[in-house]
Amino acid sequence: MTKLTGQAAIVQDLERQISELERQTGSSVAQEEIKRLQEQIESLRQTGPSPQNKDAWTRVLLARHPQRPYTLDYIQMLFTDFTELHGDRRFGDDQAMVAGFARFEGRAVMVAGHQKGRDTKQKLARNFGMTNPEGYRKALRLMSLASKFGLPIITFVDTPGAYPGIGAEERGQAEAIAYNLKEIPKLQVPIIPVIHGEGGSGGALAIAVGDHVLMLENAVYSVIAPESCSSILWRDWEHKQEASRILKLTADDLYGFRIIDEIVPEPPGGAHADPEAAAGFLRAAIKKGLSDLLPLSLEELHRRRFDRLRSLATFVSEG
């Protein structure tokens, strides 16, 4: 009974957010977000609070669940002394990407991750977790700083994708992502990326290259959103469930392809059902990852990091 009440409260909150967004006539991305919120309401009604049957589409809905812990929630639960650092020293400070010093079990580290907003005001400030070029540049600036001072890096991936806007293109969205992909492999400290919510294509990958890639059980990681895949292949959004299945975007699928290195379990019902428990599982995985990586020499670390990427290949050879 309490669960139902909780769910009804979430639905009510989402409906309130929709009406707030509808008043945001000036906001460019509000329409998309309204569509997503409506979908979340529909999904809550369909699946209930504890979906048992976890097909790919259910995972997509769980990964986008409005109560799912976001990056700053995990940072707060897993680290002490988080000291946020701002700006890319080029253009601005992207609120859709957060980064800073923190301590993990006493050890000084650097954290960086996409940040979504919970209420309407935060959602707009965080641009729905869709990063602009300055966000990727901020992340790289601080990851490079971590490399300089020997701090291991933990990144938190949760974005629908890099922001597709005029300013983003003008300021070199593609270049910002590409440059991260070239520079991050050179960094001289262990890197543990955590895909904990939505891994939206290049916008996710730009901070997801590392030495031991963790992915939460109900997170998704895909080259394209199932809705967009559906609209390209079937010219409508109605095949999004089928699209989510064929894209092979779940943690199980990606572990099978060796794209991720470890699946981090979530509590029954998903991370939102018990965020502290979810953080507990993640803490154990990060701890183990660091203890495996920290003893490696720089040469060994770089060799493994490169070989890990280089071996991501499937092809048949003839002639």
Partner: protein, 225 residues
């Protein structure tokens, strides 16, 4: 086209996709691959050749838009990564001519990983100080732009090419505005500092030979013997 007398040795032409996701939408991906192969005579969307430009050796990777929109899956990723390996090993300069809609949807996250794989390989090419020129042609978008196409020591484009991260339709749908005239053209990118130069196709070969020479592509040193 770029090689002297049009002569080159093709590399890794035998690589093809096994359809790793067993992707089937309205049409099986394996069938799309067969059709693309029939139209282009290629097994995937990039051709890699080793030959000479103005009498000096180099490797050129040229993407083929007719092959599923020039999209990048694991075969494109592997062929380009091998081309980079070979440049490092043989101390050769690299040119990649992009013409691509981005990562190939039908190979899912495996396609996405090719962005990281190729970019990491380019970081290794930096270490041996052999130049890489990225040539962007119409169109170059998505994951291709967000990886190797923007990572050249020089990034040059043909006039009037569509170049961007997000496609214009996606941006219009997101922001609900008409895009300005000339948005995401080569000229727009040059103006915004993303390109070194715009070079028309008839001048391309001479431009590449000259620029590679400036960057010491063929300076012999002890290690290259």
């Amino acid at each position: 086209m770029l090689f002297d007398d049009g002569k080159y040795v093709e590399l890794d032409a035998g690589l093809s996709s096994p359809n790793p996701l067993e992707f089937v939408d309205r049409k099986p991906y394996s069938l799309r691959l067969k059709e693309a192969a029939r139209i282009t005579g290629m097994k995937d969307a990039v051709r890699v050749g080793e030959g000479n430009i103005s009498g000096k050796p180099l490797i050129v990777c040229a993407m083929e838009f007719q092959f599923i929109g020039g999209s990048m899956g694991a075969v494109v990723g592997e062929k380009i990564a091998r081309a980079i390996d070979r440049c490092i090993q043989k101390q050769l300069p690299l040119v990649i001519v992009s013409c691509s809609g981005g990562a190939r949807m039908m190979e899912g996250t495996i396609s996405l990983m090719q962005l990281a794989k190729i970019s990491a390989s380019l970081a290794r090419l930096d270490e041996v100080k052999k130049p890489y020129i990225s040539v962007l042609t119409n169109p170059t978008t998505g994951g291709t732009t967000a990886s190797f196409a923007m990572l050249g020591d020089l990034n040059i484009a043909e006039p009037g090419a569509l170049i961007g991260f997000a496609g214009p339709r996606v941006i219009e749908q997101t922001i609900h505005q008409k895009l300005p005239e000339g948005f995401q053209t080569s000229e727009f990118l040059l103006e915004h500092g993303m390109l070194d130069a715009i070079v028309p196709r008839p001048e391309l070969k001479a431009y590449l030979a000259k620029s590679l020479d400036f960057m010491g592509a063929w300076n012999s040193d002890e290690t290259s013997k």
